[in-house]
Point group: C2
Chain length 212, copies 2
Protein backbone atom coordinates (compact mmCIF):
# COMPACT_ATOMS: atom_id res chain seq x y z
CA UNK A 1 0.00 0.00 0.00
CA UNK A 2 1.05 3.59 -0.55
CA UNK A 3 1.80 5.26 2.81
CA UNK A 4 1.68 8.97 3.61
CA UNK A 5 2.57 10.20 7.11
CA UNK A 6 1.65 13.66 8.36
CA UNK A 7 4.86 15.30 7.15
CA UNK A 8 4.52 13.68 3.69
CA UNK A 9 0.98 15.15 3.54
CA UNK A 10 2.26 18.61 4.57
CA UNK A 11 4.79 18.49 1.74
CA UNK A 12 2.32 17.62 -1.03
CA UNK A 13 1.62 20.01 -3.88
CA UNK A 14 -1.60 21.89 -3.04
CA UNK A 15 -3.97 20.47 -5.70
CA UNK A 16 -2.65 16.91 -5.17
CA UNK A 17 -3.35 17.26 -1.44
CA UNK A 18 -6.85 18.64 -2.04
CA UNK A 19 -7.70 15.74 -4.38
CA UNK A 20 -6.21 13.19 -1.96
CA UNK A 21 -7.78 14.40 1.29
CA UNK A 22 -11.15 15.08 -0.33
CA UNK A 23 -11.20 11.47 -1.55
CA UNK A 24 -10.41 9.69 1.70
CA UNK A 25 -13.51 10.49 3.73
CA UNK A 26 -15.42 8.04 1.48
CA UNK A 27 -18.42 8.79 -0.73
CA UNK A 28 -20.06 12.15 -0.12
CA UNK A 29 -23.65 13.25 -0.45
CA UNK A 30 -24.33 15.64 -3.36
CA UNK A 31 -26.73 18.46 -2.59
CA UNK A 32 -27.77 21.91 -3.72
CA UNK A 33 -28.49 24.34 -0.91
CA UNK A 34 -30.97 27.07 -1.80
CA UNK A 35 -31.28 30.38 0.09
CA UNK A 36 -32.79 33.84 -0.34
CA UNK A 37 -31.46 37.11 1.02
CA UNK A 38 -33.85 39.40 2.92
CA UNK A 39 -34.05 41.49 -0.26
CA UNK A 40 -35.15 38.39 -2.19
CA UNK A 41 -31.95 37.64 -4.10
CA UNK A 42 -31.74 33.89 -4.65
CA UNK A 43 -28.66 31.73 -4.20
CA UNK A 44 -28.01 28.06 -4.91
CA UNK A 45 -24.72 26.29 -4.20
CA UNK A 46 -23.37 22.76 -4.25
CA UNK A 47 -22.33 21.07 -0.97
CA UNK A 48 -20.91 17.61 -0.36
CA UNK A 49 -20.96 17.59 3.44
CA UNK A 50 -24.64 17.14 4.33
CA UNK A 51 -24.75 14.62 7.19
CA UNK A 52 -27.48 12.98 9.28
CA UNK A 53 -27.36 14.12 12.94
CA UNK A 54 -30.56 12.61 14.28
CA UNK A 55 -34.11 11.51 13.45
CA UNK A 56 -36.07 12.85 16.44
CA UNK A 57 -36.02 15.79 16.02
CA UNK A 58 -34.95 15.42 12.36
CA UNK A 59 -31.56 17.17 12.15
CA UNK A 60 -29.14 17.54 9.25
CA UNK A 61 -25.74 19.25 9.31
CA UNK A 62 -23.37 20.66 6.70
CA UNK A 63 -19.96 22.35 6.71
CA UNK A 64 -19.11 25.87 5.47
CA UNK A 65 -15.63 26.91 4.35
CA UNK A 66 -13.69 29.61 6.26
CA UNK A 67 -14.99 33.15 6.47
CA UNK A 68 -12.26 34.45 4.16
CA UNK A 69 -14.16 33.37 1.00
CA UNK A 70 -17.58 34.75 0.04
CA UNK A 71 -20.29 32.68 1.65
CA UNK A 72 -23.62 33.82 0.30
CA UNK A 73 -25.35 30.69 1.56
CA UNK A 74 -24.21 31.46 5.12
CA UNK A 75 -25.16 35.14 5.00
CA UNK A 76 -28.61 34.33 3.61
CA UNK A 77 -29.47 31.53 6.01
CA UNK A 78 -28.38 33.65 8.95
CA UNK A 79 -30.47 36.59 7.69
CA UNK A 80 -33.65 34.59 7.10
CA UNK A 81 -33.25 31.50 9.30
CA UNK A 82 -34.16 29.10 6.47
CA UNK A 83 -32.60 27.10 3.63
CA UNK A 84 -33.38 24.14 1.38
CA UNK A 85 -31.41 20.96 0.64
CA UNK A 86 -32.05 19.39 -2.79
CA UNK A 87 -30.56 16.14 -4.05
CA UNK A 88 -28.47 16.22 -7.21
CA UNK A 89 -29.55 13.68 -9.85
CA UNK A 90 -28.01 12.55 -13.18
CA UNK A 91 -29.73 15.19 -15.31
CA UNK A 92 -28.40 18.22 -13.43
CA UNK A 93 -24.84 17.20 -12.53
CA UNK A 94 -23.12 19.79 -14.75
CA UNK A 95 -25.46 22.60 -13.71
CA UNK A 96 -24.98 21.67 -10.06
CA UNK A 97 -21.19 21.67 -10.46
CA UNK A 98 -21.39 25.07 -12.16
CA UNK A 99 -22.80 26.62 -8.94
CA UNK A 100 -19.33 26.26 -7.38
CA UNK A 101 -18.00 29.01 -9.68
CA UNK A 102 -17.31 32.27 -7.82
CA UNK A 103 -20.12 34.63 -8.70
CA UNK A 104 -20.62 37.79 -6.65
CA UNK A 105 -23.54 38.13 -4.28
CA UNK A 106 -25.70 40.11 -6.70
CA UNK A 107 -25.67 37.27 -9.21
CA UNK A 108 -28.09 34.39 -8.76
CA UNK A 109 -26.78 30.98 -9.83
CA UNK A 110 -30.35 30.28 -10.96
CA UNK A 111 -29.74 32.80 -13.75
CA UNK A 112 -26.36 31.40 -14.74
CA UNK A 113 -27.42 27.73 -14.95
CA UNK A 114 -30.46 25.75 -16.09
CA UNK A 115 -31.47 25.12 -12.47
CA UNK A 116 -34.90 26.56 -11.67
CA UNK A 117 -36.14 27.84 -8.32
CA UNK A 118 -39.42 26.51 -6.94
CA UNK A 119 -41.41 28.03 -4.05
CA UNK A 120 -43.92 26.14 -1.88
CA UNK A 121 -45.68 26.48 1.50
CA UNK A 122 -44.72 30.18 1.78
CA UNK A 123 -41.22 28.94 2.64
CA UNK A 124 -38.78 31.82 2.02
CA UNK A 125 -35.90 29.74 0.59
CA UNK A 126 -36.10 28.39 -2.97
CA UNK A 127 -36.17 24.67 -3.69
CA UNK A 128 -34.51 23.37 -6.85
CA UNK A 129 -37.23 22.29 -9.28
CA UNK A 130 -37.42 18.61 -10.28
CA UNK A 131 -35.03 17.35 -7.62
CA UNK A 132 -36.32 13.94 -6.43
CA UNK A 133 -35.78 14.91 -2.75
CA UNK A 134 -36.36 18.51 -1.57
CA UNK A 135 -35.99 19.49 2.07
CA UNK A 136 -37.02 22.75 3.74
CA UNK A 137 -34.80 23.44 6.77
CA UNK A 138 -34.92 25.82 9.74
CA UNK A 139 -31.50 26.90 11.04
CA UNK A 140 -30.91 25.66 14.61
CA UNK A 141 -27.30 26.10 15.73
CA UNK A 142 -23.74 26.57 14.46
CA UNK A 143 -20.36 25.46 15.71
CA UNK A 144 -17.08 27.14 14.97
CA UNK A 145 -14.38 24.52 14.26
CA UNK A 146 -11.20 25.87 15.86
CA UNK A 147 -8.61 23.84 13.98
CA UNK A 148 -9.45 25.31 10.54
CA UNK A 149 -12.16 27.97 10.96
CA UNK A 150 -14.87 25.95 9.21
CA UNK A 151 -18.42 26.21 10.49
CA UNK A 152 -20.85 23.36 11.12
CA UNK A 153 -24.44 24.43 10.43
CA UNK A 154 -27.27 22.38 11.95
CA UNK A 155 -30.90 22.65 10.99
CA UNK A 156 -34.22 20.93 11.54
CA UNK A 157 -36.40 19.55 8.74
CA UNK A 158 -39.63 21.56 8.40
CA UNK A 159 -40.76 20.21 5.01
CA UNK A 160 -39.81 17.06 3.17
CA UNK A 161 -40.78 16.38 -0.46
CA UNK A 162 -40.00 12.98 -1.97
CA UNK A 163 -40.80 11.65 -5.43
CA UNK A 164 -43.50 9.06 -4.76
CA UNK A 165 -41.80 6.02 -6.32
CA UNK A 166 -38.65 6.41 -4.18
CA UNK A 167 -40.52 6.15 -0.88
CA UNK A 168 -40.94 2.56 0.35
CA UNK A 169 -43.46 1.10 2.76
CA UNK A 170 -41.09 1.22 5.77
CA UNK A 171 -39.95 4.84 5.24
CA UNK A 172 -36.80 3.90 3.30
CA UNK A 173 -36.07 6.28 0.41
CA UNK A 174 -34.30 4.63 -2.53
CA UNK A 175 -31.73 7.20 -3.68
CA UNK A 176 -30.60 5.02 -6.58
CA UNK A 177 -34.13 4.83 -8.06
CA UNK A 178 -34.10 8.63 -8.14
CA UNK A 179 -30.79 8.62 -10.08
CA UNK A 180 -29.33 10.59 -7.17
CA UNK A 181 -25.54 10.84 -7.37
CA UNK A 182 -22.71 10.79 -4.83
CA UNK A 183 -19.35 12.53 -5.02
CA UNK A 184 -15.88 10.96 -4.82
CA UNK A 185 -13.25 13.57 -4.02
CA UNK A 186 -13.67 17.08 -5.37
CA UNK A 187 -15.16 16.49 -8.77
CA UNK A 188 -16.09 12.88 -9.55
CA UNK A 189 -19.84 12.24 -9.72
CA UNK A 190 -20.96 8.64 -9.18
CA UNK A 191 -24.13 6.65 -9.74
CA UNK A 192 -25.03 3.89 -7.28
CA UNK A 193 -26.80 0.57 -7.16
CA UNK A 194 -27.87 -1.39 -4.08
CA UNK A 195 -25.85 -4.43 -3.06
CA UNK A 196 -28.19 -5.44 -0.22
CA UNK A 197 -30.22 -4.20 2.72
CA UNK A 198 -29.40 -5.91 6.02
CA UNK A 199 -31.44 -6.56 9.16
CA UNK A 200 -30.72 -4.83 12.48
CA UNK A 201 -27.60 -6.57 13.88
CA UNK A 202 -27.82 -8.53 17.13
CA UNK A 203 -24.98 -9.91 19.30
CA UNK A 204 -23.84 -13.45 18.49
CA UNK A 205 -26.12 -13.79 15.47
CA UNK A 206 -25.24 -13.92 11.78
CA UNK A 207 -26.32 -10.79 9.94
CA UNK A 208 -29.32 -11.49 7.69
CA UNK A 209 -30.75 -9.92 4.56
CA UNK A 210 -33.52 -7.39 5.26
CA UNK A 211 -36.98 -8.89 4.79
CA UNK A 212 -35.75 -12.50 5.14
Amino acid sequence: MKHFNSSNIDDLEKLYRINLINSVSGYKSANLIGTASKKGLLNVAIFSSVTHYGSNPPILGFVMRPASVPRHTYENLKETGFYTINHIHNDIVRNAHHTSARYNRDTSEFEKTNLQPEFKDEFIAPYVKDCPVQIGIRFIEEHHIKVNNTILILGQIEHLYIKENLLKQDGFVSLSEGNIVSINGLDCYNKSEPLERLKYAKPNQEVEKYGS
Copy 2:
Protein backbone atom coordinates in the same frame (compact mmCIF):
# COMPACT_ATOMS: atom_id res chain seq x y z
CA MET B 1 -44.48 14.34 -4.63
CA LYS B 2 -45.12 13.00 -1.16
CA HIS B 3 -45.02 15.87 1.37
CA PHE B 4 -44.27 15.61 5.10
CA ASN B 5 -44.35 18.75 7.27
CA SER B 6 -42.75 18.88 10.71
CA SER B 7 -45.86 17.74 12.54
CA ASN B 8 -46.37 14.82 10.11
CA ILE B 9 -42.76 13.80 10.84
CA ASP B 10 -43.34 14.03 14.62
CA ASP B 11 -46.33 11.71 14.28
CA LEU B 12 -44.54 8.97 12.32
CA GLU B 13 -44.04 5.52 13.80
CA LYS B 14 -40.50 5.37 15.22
CA LEU B 15 -38.86 2.91 12.82
CA TYR B 16 -40.53 4.53 9.79
CA ARG B 17 -39.13 7.91 10.89
CA ILE B 18 -35.63 6.48 11.43
CA ASN B 19 -35.63 4.91 7.95
CA LEU B 20 -36.99 8.11 6.37
CA ILE B 21 -34.72 10.66 8.02
CA ASN B 22 -31.62 8.47 7.68
CA SER B 23 -32.29 8.27 3.92
CA VAL B 24 -32.73 11.95 3.16
CA SER B 25 -29.22 13.24 3.86
CA GLY B 26 -28.10 11.50 0.64
CA TYR B 27 -25.47 8.77 0.28
CA LYS B 28 -23.31 8.24 3.36
CA SER B 29 -19.72 7.14 3.68
CA ALA B 30 -19.24 3.64 5.14
CA ASN B 31 -16.38 3.30 7.59
CA LEU B 32 -15.11 1.15 10.42
CA ILE B 33 -13.56 3.09 13.29
CA GLY B 34 -10.93 1.17 15.25
CA THR B 35 -9.86 2.04 18.79
CA ALA B 36 -7.98 0.49 21.74
CA SER B 37 -8.60 1.10 25.43
CA LYS B 38 -5.63 1.98 27.65
CA LYS B 39 -5.71 -1.64 28.84
CA GLY B 40 -5.39 -2.81 25.23
CA LEU B 41 -8.95 -3.99 24.59
CA LEU B 42 -9.77 -3.49 20.92
CA ASN B 43 -12.98 -2.06 19.51
CA VAL B 44 -14.24 -1.66 15.97
CA ALA B 45 -17.56 -0.07 15.02
CA ILE B 46 -19.37 1.02 11.87
CA PHE B 47 -20.02 4.74 11.25
CA SER B 48 -21.78 6.44 8.35
CA SER B 49 -21.05 10.06 9.24
CA VAL B 50 -17.37 10.53 8.38
CA THR B 51 -17.10 13.92 6.64
CA HIS B 52 -14.28 15.98 5.09
CA TYR B 53 -13.59 19.19 7.07
CA GLY B 54 -10.43 20.41 5.39
CA SER B 55 -7.29 19.45 3.51
CA ASN B 56 -4.68 21.69 5.16
CA PRO B 57 -4.38 20.49 7.86
CA PRO B 58 -6.13 17.24 6.82
CA ILE B 59 -9.22 17.03 9.06
CA LEU B 60 -12.06 14.50 9.14
CA GLY B 61 -15.11 14.57 11.40
CA PHE B 62 -17.70 12.02 12.52
CA VAL B 63 -20.78 12.05 14.74
CA MET B 64 -21.36 10.04 17.94
CA ARG B 65 -24.80 9.17 19.27
CA PRO B 66 -25.99 10.52 22.64
CA ALA B 67 -24.20 9.58 25.83
CA SER B 68 -27.10 7.42 26.96
CA VAL B 69 -25.95 4.44 24.85
CA PRO B 70 -22.60 2.70 25.33
CA ARG B 71 -19.94 4.43 23.30
CA HIS B 72 -16.79 2.38 23.50
CA THR B 73 -15.32 4.18 20.51
CA TYR B 74 -15.68 7.53 22.30
CA GLU B 75 -14.28 6.30 25.62
CA ASN B 76 -11.28 4.72 23.91
CA LEU B 77 -10.40 7.63 21.65
CA LYS B 78 -10.64 10.04 24.58
CA GLU B 79 -8.43 7.75 26.71
CA THR B 80 -5.71 7.28 24.10
CA GLY B 81 -6.14 10.25 21.74
CA PHE B 82 -6.08 8.08 18.61
CA TYR B 83 -8.38 6.11 16.30
CA THR B 84 -8.43 4.66 12.79
CA ILE B 85 -10.91 5.07 9.93
CA ASN B 86 -11.11 2.14 7.49
CA HIS B 87 -13.24 2.00 4.34
CA ILE B 88 -15.82 -0.75 4.02
CA HIS B 89 -15.60 -2.74 0.78
CA ASN B 90 -17.82 -5.40 -0.82
CA ASP B 91 -16.17 -8.39 0.88
CA ILE B 92 -16.72 -7.22 4.46
CA VAL B 93 -20.17 -5.59 4.31
CA ARG B 94 -21.89 -8.16 6.56
CA ASN B 95 -19.04 -8.25 9.08
CA ALA B 96 -18.98 -4.45 9.16
CA HIS B 97 -22.75 -4.31 9.73
CA HIS B 98 -22.39 -6.89 12.53
CA THR B 99 -20.23 -4.42 14.54
CA SER B 100 -23.38 -2.36 15.18
CA ALA B 101 -24.72 -5.11 17.50
CA ARG B 102 -24.63 -4.10 21.18
CA TYR B 103 -21.71 -5.95 22.70
CA ASN B 104 -20.44 -4.92 26.13
CA ARG B 105 -17.12 -3.13 26.50
CA ASP B 106 -15.17 -6.29 27.44
CA THR B 107 -16.05 -7.90 24.11
CA SER B 108 -13.99 -7.04 21.05
CA GLU B 109 -15.92 -6.96 17.77
CA PHE B 110 -12.73 -8.35 16.20
CA GLU B 111 -13.48 -11.61 18.04
CA LYS B 112 -17.15 -11.71 17.06
CA THR B 113 -16.65 -11.05 13.32
CA ASN B 114 -14.15 -12.05 10.63
CA LEU B 115 -12.62 -8.56 10.72
CA GLN B 116 -8.94 -8.65 11.67
CA PRO B 117 -6.95 -5.96 13.48
CA GLU B 118 -3.69 -4.75 11.97
CA PHE B 119 -1.04 -2.66 13.74
CA LYS B 120 1.52 -0.41 12.02
CA ASP B 121 3.90 2.47 12.86
CA GLU B 122 3.50 1.86 16.62
CA PHE B 123 0.09 3.51 16.28
CA ILE B 124 -2.01 2.46 19.30
CA ALA B 125 -5.35 2.08 17.49
CA PRO B 126 -5.96 -0.99 15.30
CA TYR B 127 -6.54 -0.69 11.57
CA VAL B 128 -8.91 -3.15 9.86
CA LYS B 129 -6.81 -5.55 7.77
CA ASP B 130 -7.31 -5.55 3.98
CA CYS B 131 -9.35 -2.33 3.83
CA PRO B 132 -8.34 -0.47 0.65
CA VAL B 133 -8.08 2.85 2.55
CA GLN B 134 -6.82 2.93 6.16
CA ILE B 135 -6.39 6.20 8.05
CA GLY B 136 -4.65 6.78 11.39
CA ILE B 137 -6.16 9.80 13.18
CA ARG B 138 -5.21 11.97 16.15
CA PHE B 139 -8.16 13.40 18.08
CA ILE B 140 -8.27 17.21 17.86
CA GLU B 141 -11.53 18.65 19.19
CA GLU B 142 -15.15 17.81 19.97
CA HIS B 143 -18.38 19.77 19.80
CA HIS B 144 -21.48 19.05 21.82
CA ILE B 145 -24.59 19.44 19.64
CA LYS B 146 -27.21 21.03 21.87
CA VAL B 147 -30.36 20.13 19.94
CA ASN B 148 -29.94 16.36 20.36
CA ASN B 149 -26.86 15.68 22.51
CA THR B 150 -24.82 14.17 19.70
CA ILE B 151 -21.09 14.83 19.62
CA LEU B 152 -19.01 15.87 16.62
CA ILE B 153 -15.48 14.43 16.83
CA LEU B 154 -12.73 16.04 14.74
CA GLY B 155 -9.32 14.56 14.12
CA GLN B 156 -6.23 15.08 12.02
CA ILE B 157 -4.80 12.49 9.62
CA GLU B 158 -1.44 11.19 10.90
CA HIS B 159 -1.11 8.16 8.59
CA LEU B 160 -2.81 7.37 5.31
CA TYR B 161 -2.59 3.96 3.62
CA ILE B 162 -4.09 3.52 0.16
CA LYS B 163 -4.12 0.45 -2.09
CA GLU B 164 -1.71 1.43 -4.88
CA ASN B 165 -4.06 0.99 -7.85
CA LEU B 166 -6.70 3.36 -6.41
CA LEU B 167 -4.32 6.33 -6.20
CA LYS B 168 -4.20 8.38 -9.39
CA GLN B 169 -1.51 10.74 -10.66
CA ASP B 170 -3.26 13.90 -9.40
CA GLY B 171 -3.96 12.58 -5.88
CA PHE B 172 -7.51 11.43 -6.67
CA VAL B 173 -8.41 8.13 -4.97
CA SER B 174 -10.90 6.00 -6.94
CA LEU B 175 -13.24 4.58 -4.29
CA SER B 176 -15.16 2.54 -6.88
CA GLU B 177 -12.00 0.71 -8.04
CA GLY B 178 -11.54 -0.38 -4.43
CA ASN B 179 -15.09 -1.78 -4.32
CA ILE B 180 -15.75 0.66 -1.49
CA VAL B 181 -19.45 0.93 -0.61
CA SER B 182 -21.75 3.74 0.44
CA ILE B 183 -24.83 3.56 2.67
CA ASN B 184 -28.38 4.64 1.81
CA GLY B 185 -30.44 5.07 4.96
CA LEU B 186 -29.79 2.80 7.93
CA ASP B 187 -29.02 -0.49 6.28
CA CYS B 188 -28.77 -0.40 2.48
CA TYR B 189 -25.22 -0.91 1.15
CA ASN B 190 -24.52 0.41 -2.34
CA LYS B 191 -21.81 -0.02 -4.95
CA SER B 192 -20.86 2.92 -7.14
CA GLU B 193 -19.58 3.68 -10.58
CA PRO B 194 -18.25 7.01 -11.91
CA LEU B 195 -20.47 9.06 -14.21
CA GLU B 196 -17.82 11.73 -14.90
CA ARG B 197 -15.14 13.92 -13.38
CA LEU B 198 -15.60 17.64 -14.05
CA LYS B 199 -13.14 20.53 -14.29
CA TYR B 200 -13.01 23.32 -11.71
CA ALA B 201 -16.04 25.56 -12.46
CA LYS B 202 -15.52 29.17 -13.59
CA PRO B 203 -18.09 31.98 -13.88
CA ASN B 204 -19.84 32.33 -17.26
CA GLN B 205 -18.19 29.21 -18.72
CA GLU B 206 -19.74 25.85 -19.57
CA VAL B 207 -18.57 23.10 -17.22
CA GLU B 208 -16.14 20.72 -18.95
CA LYS B 209 -15.08 17.14 -18.49
CA TYR B 210 -11.91 16.75 -16.40
CA GLY B 211 -8.84 16.24 -18.55
CA SER B 212 -10.49 17.69 -21.67
